[in-house]
């Protein structure tokens, strides 16, 4: 399940993912993310209340980041205190401390999570 909050003045929005960020929901989530970027210049994906996560979900966020960079838009991630999410990206080797190879000068989405 997702919730979309858009600020037309700032042209920014927050897409909160509240259920699972998993293979079961990635098809639907992809659609929500594409819609979000069609509307906003800056999108924050809030995963702080995501209850489950898998590689397909993380890959989706990574692809989304690349998509945003390719369109000159900004994407950020809000993890909050989501320990499930944090430990997952750590245990599966996503967490890192260098810039993204596809993101030109932008930070890797996972760099901040290291």
């Amino acid at each position: 399940m997702t919730k979309w909050a858009f600020d037309p003045e700032q042209k920014s929005g927050i897409l909160a993912i509240e259920g699972g960020l998993t293979i079961r929901s990635v098809g639907d989530l992809k659609q929500r993310l594409v819609e979000a970027f069609s509307e906003a210049e800056m999108v924050t994906v809030d995963v702080s209340t995501a209850e489950a996560v898998d590689v397909a979900g993380i890959q989706l966020l990574c692809a989304c980041h690349r998509y945003s960079v390719g369109r000159g838009k900004e994407m950020s991630l809000y993890v909050g205190q989501n320990a499930v999410f944090e430990s997952f990206i750590d245990e599966t080797g996503f967490a890192r401390n260098f810039v993204c190879s596809h993101g030109k000068d932008s930070h890797c989405l996972w760099a901040e999570q290291k």
Partner: protein, 697 residues
């Protein structure tokens, strides 16, 4: 018996102790994976070593318990109290099995079968487990190697229902893994089919497993992924950390950079990794992964060098004893040399003597340190004692230990076992109340015995505290009067009453039981502590508990002594007890009107005239010296003619003829070859006190 068997015996005893310690701790925290692993490792190592040394029965018996603990390890079985009890029983039985080969009574085969059956009942899938165990066994004994693994799933992986995180997790369980997800193939969102997998992984795994075991992790996805496993470091080889590959070599090996491009970049002056990334030949993630590999292998090699440097060897304790004796002889000879040199006007000889003295003292300290052991070794035994005895008496008791790391000479530790066992038995038997009684008194149902050790100067202070009923002063006094140990009208302080329990003959037939000590009384405890040149004190509070405070010397071999003389005879006082020396004039003696009391900075200190105690002839000097010693918090003076100075005292036994000589704990040989007695200050003080009390009655 072969030396292999002897070595196995030593190792087995250590492992069984480790097993017992871990089991007792596991009983308190059954979920502790670290403890479960310790139990498993002890059983597994014992099994392996037993098989190697020809103790097949031990090996196969261990196998049964080990198989059960493999289930505990995997979470399929709980380490409950019953399993801990069964394994403790197995531990006892194993000890018997090992010792049988060394002349002990053979173990009961029926008991072996019973225990094996008890373990097997817990194994519903025993046969399936066998293979797993042997794999585990091999893993733990092998040398650790580091592998570079690239796992590149085909895009359809998710559709096959495979979750890569489980594969990575399984891999991480094989050893120490560093996992880096490679994201360069992930397309932008609009091009991504989110049900396809474009992420791949580089993993560095340090493990004792072989390549096949790693491949097995991917067995169900092998046809749907690219899998490259390369061994990049082998643990057994002693390589220098710096010898490991350079970044470029790693990237070429991984296939992330062609060799010709490497050669091209090596001709440039730029930082290699940076240049590669800047020019887009390799992405940063891959450089990072290669750097991680380089750092990891270098760190492992450094770690191995440290481990090799701190390796230890096993030495028979009797060899150490011989070494300590030799050092003792050397200290004596060195004292002679120093004395000889100081009597000659020869600067060269004096210089050599001083050098020998310095080296001898260093050698003494080093050798005594080698024989020091942490007291935790015997503390562990007591946990078992408390557990079993508590269960036998229907009492719920826990043993808390503190200061297990405190080190004591091995000979002291060896002799300490029996008195401590007796004290703890007394605490449980007489001190700790039954759970229902404790609850009625508002105490926790579970009794608590605390065993603590700490260094106090040249001594170790051991305290055994219980939160039980405490000593009954009236009952003790009544019994002492009945036994004729004190007069019915005697006015005794609390301390004097409590100390009556250490008097020979205080124990009564009613008190003798399996629990309170195999028919021996607390006097045996005091004798044992005395023989270690230690002291024991007891204090108690009704309803709150009892505290036994035992003070022991760190070593029984060599002590720092204070050399004194009386009537041309020389004696040694243990320096650890000495606080200060003051003068005593004839005038002060007269002013005291025959009472042996001294005023030191407004403190009245009683003193003992050693000349009188030892019936030594001759006149007292005009000014005598009083050595003030602190005996269990009480300051007592010992009057001597002269204080000669500090002396490295090698303790010699007095032999059987004089072993019970009151007031003397040993002897030493002085530099000029004369023998000096080492005085037992607490017993001298007690002797004088007793004499005076008798005179007052």
């Amino acid at each position: 018996m072969s030396s292999l068997a002897e070595t196995f015996k030593d190792e087995a005893m250590e492992l069984l102790q480790e097993l017992e310690e871990s089991l007792l701790a596991l009983e308190e925290t059954p979920e502790d994976q670290g403890l479960i692993d310790r139990v498993f490792r002890a059983l597994h190592t014992l099994k392996g070593s037993g098989g190697l040394a020809g103790f097949e029965d031990v090996s196969s018996f261990c196998h049964e318990a080990e198989t059960v603990f493999e289930l505990v390890r995997s979470g399929d079985l709980k380490a409950d109290r019953e399993l801990v009890s069964l394994t403790l029983a197995a531990q006892d039985h194993l000890k018997g099995m090992v010792l049988t080969e060394f002349g002990a009574d053979p173990v009961d085969d029926e008991r072996t079968a019973e225990l094996v059956a008890a373990f097997q009942i817990l194994l519903p899938f025993a046969e399936q487990q066998v293979e797993k165990i042997s794999e585990q066994a091999l893993r733990q004994e092998s040398i650790q190697s580091t592998y570079r693994i690239r796992f590149r799933p085909q895009p359809n992986l998710f559709r096959l229902g495979v979750q890569p995180q489980f594969l990575l997790s399984e891999l991480a369980h094989l050893g120490e893994a560093i996992i880096v997800a490679q994201l360069d193939a992930v397309p932008p969102l609009d091009e991504l089919d989110p049900e396809e997998c474009w992420v791949y992984w580089d993993i560095l795994l340090t493990t004792a497993e072989d390549k096949d075991a790693i491949r097995d992790v991917f067995i169900f996805v092998e046809d749907d992924c690219g899998l490259d496993i390369q061994q990049i470091d082998e643990g057994g080889v002693l390589d220098q950390p710096e010898d490991y590959k350079r970044l470029g070599e790693i990237l070429v090996e991984r296939g992330d950079l062609p060799q010709d491009e490497l050669d091209h970049f090596l001709n440039q002056k730029k930082l290699f990794g940076e240049a590669l990334v800047e020019q887009g030949h390799v992405n940063r993630s891959k450089v990072q992964s290669a750097l991680t590999e380089q750092e990891r292998v270098q760190a492992l090699r450094r770690q191995r060098q440290v481990c090799d440097a701190v390796d230890s060897i096993r030495v028979k304790s009797d060899r150490l004893d011989k070494l300590v004796n030799l050092v003792g002889e050397m200290v004596t000879v060195q004292a002679r040399l120093s004395q000889f040199a100081s009597n000659r006007v020869d600067a060269d000889l004096l210089s050599v003597a001083e050098e020998v003295e310095r080296l001898t003292w260093d050698l003494r300290d080093q050798v005594l340190t080698i024989r020091m052991l942490p007291i935790s070794g015997i503390f562990t035994k007591f946990k078992r004692l408390v557990r079993d005895l508590g269960a036998e008496l229907g009492k719920d008791v826990m043993l808390v230990t503190e200061g297990g790391e405190t080190e004591l000479d091995k000979t002291v530790i060896d002799s300490l076992n029996d008195p401590l066992v007796h004290l703890i038995r007394n605490c449980i038997g007489h001190g700790i109340e039954l759970p229902q009684v404790r609850q009625a008194l508002g105490k926790p149902a579970k009794g608590r015995i605390t065993l603590s050790a700490k260094h106090a100067g040249a001594n170790v202070a051991l305290t055994i505290t219980d939160d039980g009923a405490g000593l009954d002063k009236a009952q003790i006094k009544a019994k002492a009067v009945e036994k004729g140990l004190v007069g019915a009208q005697a006015e005794l302080s609390d301390r004097e009453i409590y100390n009556l329990i250490f008097e020979p003959g205080f124990s009564t037939a009613q008190e003798v039981s399996n629990v309170s000590g195999r028919g021996v009384g607390m006097d045996v405890v005091r004798q044992a502590v005395d023989s270690l040149r230690g002291s024991i004190e007891v204090s108690s509070e009704a309803g709150q508990g009892t505290v036994f405070a035992v003070k022991l010397p760190l070593t029984l071999a060599i002590i720092d002594g204070l050399l004194i003389d009386i009537a041309s005879e020389q004696y040694i006082l243990p320096l650890s007890a000495v606080e200060e020396c003051v003068e005593l004039t004839q005038e002060e003696t007269i002013q005291a009107h025959g009472r042996n009391l001294l005023n030191i900075r407004d403190e009245i200190v009683p003193y003992v005239r050693l000349r009188n105690e030892f019936n030594l002839p001759g006149e007292r000097p005009e000014i005598e010296q009083v050595v003030i010693a602190n005996l269990e918090g009480f300051r007592v003076g010992f009057v001597v003619d002269n204080v000669v100075g500090e002396h490295q005292t090698v303790i010699k036994n007095l032999g059987r003829m004089y072993q019970d000589a009151d007031g003397v704990s040993g002897a030493t040989i002085l530099g000029d070859g004369r023998v000096a007695l080492i005085l037992d200050l607490p017993s001298l003080a007690t002797r004088v006190e007793t004499k005076e009390n008798s005179a007052c009655r």
